[in-house]
């Protein structure tokens, strides 16, 4: 599978990573190279094989649905690049 410039642009946008138009060609080439390496997987007979969902046979544990932590708004916001009045701030989202 070869990735063209348009697919590279679409993937970059899905991944929310800005890529300059002039860099798309190079990016498409790199991604194609890596995907080419993965093509080997097509040789494997996977008929009737279950995809792995858990590497160790274990059931995910349940716990009581109760509050175990909280009241840490200040500490949670301490690392925010921009926080005001107890909120994270972002550029205007709704017009």
């Amino acid at each position: 599978m070869s990735i063209d410039k348009d697919t590279a642009r679409r993937v970059a946008h899905l991944a929310r990573i800005e890529v300059a138009e002039t860099d798309l060609e190079h990016l498409a080439g790199e991604l194609s190279g890596i995907l080419g390496f993965m093509e080997q997987l097509r040789e494997v007979d996977v008929e009737g094989i279950e995809p792995m969902t858990s590497v160790t046979p274990m059931e995910l544990p349940w716990r009581e649905d109760v509050v175990t932590d909280g009241g840490n708004a200040e500490r949670v916001l301490a690392n925010a690049p921009d926080a005001r009045d107890g909120f994270f701030t972002v550029p205007k989202v709704v017009e």
Binding site: M1, E30, F37, N72, A80, P81, F88
Partner: protein, 494 residues
Amino acid sequence: MTDLASLTIADARDRLRSGDIGAAELTDACLAASEAAAALNAVTAPTPDLARAQAARAAERLKAGDAPDLCGIPLGIKDLFCVDGVQSQAASRILEGFRPPYESTVTTKLWEAGATCIGKLNMDEFAMGSSNESSVYGPAISPWRGEGDAALTPGGSSGGSAAAVAADLCLAATGTDTGGSIRQPAAFTGIVGVKPTYGRVSRWGIVAFASSLDQAGPMTKTVRDAAIMLKAMSGHDAKDSTSAPLAVPDFEAALTGDLRGKKIGLPREYRVDGMPAEIEALWQTGADMLRAAGAEIVDISLPHTKYALPAYYVIAPAEASSNLARYDGVRYGRRAKIGANEGITALYERTRAEGFGPEVKRRIMIGTYVLSAGYYDAYYLRAQKVRTLIKRDFEQAFEAGVDAILTPATPSAAFGIGTMADADPVEMYLNDVFTVTVNLAGLPGAAVPAGLSATGLPLGLQVIGRPWGEAEMLDVAFAIEQASGFAAKPAKWW
């Protein structure tokens, strides 16, 4: 006078308990060694105040006779672990300035056991790399030198940890291993590195790369030290739902070096094309050592080995693309500047473009692609089926009576800094060829130094254990360590 920083954990433990050396003295020796080793670029954030406060508490516990094994032992911590109030940024620009208001479970356990923290250690950005060259701090440099005094990589992603332990800046360090990131750097620098069974060590508070593959483990000077430190790091944690509710064995007590009645498998598929003769020879020497320790050596087959790397490079980036979605410039880390007329999407896209390095971006985009509509079945689902087959290969070997598996740890000795700069990304991925199967199958693996290359650089062997069989695995590694008598140290140039 012996350089205190060059002590093993086991020796330091005994000397601290007997009062022969003091906790403050030992921690100060490591802080001084670290400060003098700027040329190695191994320590990214020294924590002398924290270390000295911890050493003072350790001294009190030692005096009171309440001293666990790690009491007063100076450790280095890979930058992937969150340490309360200390710069923890996974060697990425996007986490610039991040000081976690919480402590990872592993480091919590280590501090409770009395260890002292000399600082955070260098690594590849988000643990993605095999040479420590993708770090925002610049590469860590191996204390070993190549031909013509060339600067070498300590390996990656736990390159700073490997360099720090090999150069005696601390007694041991934490690492994490998603595809070989503990074992490859350990092999490159002549130290011991252990990746535990998936679920043995809590992942809580460790920056996630690929959650179904990541495990933290010890990087130490000896197998005994790895056993001691692994015990302190292990155990069930309610905060990690994949952490196993199993008792932690006394790994150190299991070290006998007596392998009578044990069966060790040599997988024929690990004899890869273009493998250097010295790696092949080291592997055979390792098998001879185990035979001399009483083990029976058998050839085994792990037929899907060849497909482990391509499966890994679908699964790990897929998980990474999901895990790294959280770095968006809103809640923590670095935020890009945007224009007055730009909106939230531009904020996300530019923050991530400026904050992530090229290898991380490539992997996020590959992961995004293999999970996207139309490609999910062809890549991701297929890779997860191949993963089932790779795990089954190991299960069949163990069912046939094999107790542990011996392989080379890496396909070569350490390479030079910058020598892979123009290589295809896939060439760098080949470093993981012997280690990545172990992560895909969730097994424990240990790298142990076993000899030197023709150019005088360390070479390691890998022992793969049964699930939860770290104790037996470490005993096999211990037999190799005893037989090889590996004691080479890099000549100090820094």
